[in-house]
């Protein structure tokens, strides 16, 4: 009769627990890798056959992805990979600035040797990926750096929100990144570590603000990468304002 909330059993392991979680992750990876391109339609039955599951499972995964704003669910029309516009991109990074400002302040004022080590270990992994030329790992680790800080801030609410925001950022970056990314993110992360352990919250917050602005400014928000199905851009025409 008493409610036992218990934990929602969210095994994040790569194992085969919860098929729909597995599907969610596969699709997530495909979207962030641009194997599924922005605007592309996702047909339920095709995916169901591909993954060997029922349509209901696909639908459930859609709900999660839509919740993360990685796909658009249009009633009676279906699911489409999200196409965040310039405005949305700016708002996402603006939101991150607001939130991560508070995060770095908290982390800075509550820094401990153990936490500093955690950050340093993570940076080492980032450098390794950079050295190996592993582009995908670099992007993932780069996002997880920010997530680590949120975790260190000790606020689960913020952590969960930032996790979603980072996914959205990843899609935006995938859409708008410049062809030859200098991607000095790891350098900026180094600078952040210095600021975080420096003990000055204002300085750390400023450093994070600069970092996020830098990521945003490295984007080419007026030149989104054309996808294979993006005929409008491929042929240099816009379907709306088309003219001989």
């Amino acid at each position: 009769m008493m409610a036992h909330p218990a934990e929602p059993a969210r095994y994040t392991g790569s194992g085969k627990l919860r098929p729909e979680e597995q599907i969610y992750r596969e699709m997530l990876g495909a979207i962030l890798d641009r194997r599924l391109e922005p605007g592309m339609k996702l047909v339920e039955e095709d995916l169901a056959k591909t993954f060997g599951v029922s349509r209901a499972r696909i639908r459930s995964a859609f709900l999660q992805l839509a919740h993360d704003k990685l796909i658009n669910l249009v009633p009676n029309r279906g699911a489409f990979i999200a196409e965040p516009g310039i405005n949305e991109a700016i708002e996402v990074f603006s939101a991150r600035r607001m939130i991560e400002d508070g995060v770095v302040r908290k982390v800075t004022t509550h820094m401990t040797p153990d936490r500093a080590t955690q950050i340093r270990d993570h940076l080492a992994a980032e450098h390794q990926a950079q050295h190996d030329g592993d582009h995908r790992a670099r992007i993932i680790l780069s996002g997880e750096f920010h997530l680590l800080l949120a975790r260190l801030a000790g606020n689960l609410v913020i952590e969960e929100f930032l996790e979603r925001l980072i996914l959205r950022s990843s899609l935006i970056i995938a859409m708008y990144e410049s062809p030859l990314p200098p991607d000095c993110s790891h350098d900026e992360h180094d600078a952040l570590l210095a600021a975080l352990t420096g003990g000055d919250p204002d300085a750390a917050a400023a450093c994070m603000a600069r970092h996020l602005d830098a990521i945003r400014d490295r984007l080419q928000l007026d030149h989104r990468k054309p996808g294979k199905t993006d005929f409008a851009r491929i042929f240099g025409r816009h379907p709306d304002k088309a003219a001989g």
Copy 2:
């Protein structure tokens, strides 16, 4: 062949568009009014019969509520009204401090006469509710005040997140509010208006921080209101550490 994202058709009107949205709102209201008490189990079929819809609809509403952290979805066990603990309460208000700090700064620096009027109009409604002794309207309007500020900050990402956070806050307040709430929230909102139009972002941010801390401190986090089904508290015993 091209995707038309379109809008997700979120009619917020009280009409009968989208039955599951209607059900979501009904349950939401019941939870925040404590007609559905924290810890209470929600049986799908009972609700389905009550609302005259299929179980699937109820299930869909559950998903939204779980997403807002207003209910817990436990696999194979069912749905339970959330029981945010002390820790969670603190984290929610801490998160709001971080976010609304940025919000009020942005609103302050971009204040216009029109926006000030919008805020003033809202405060008038709050005072009216206070005068009428309409407790429910006061709580709702009090939350919407913060949401208005988020909207004025012009960031949809933040706005949506804060909306959910305010719902969570409402549940927490319903659980832990002191029996005789002085609830001078509207006075504090008056002070906020002054700070927001004062042009000093730091002052406005400090004012908001004080306000949120005050809300939190008015809670009796060590004395949650017992529900009808909360036997542990009713009988002054804890099921875990039970002893003759």
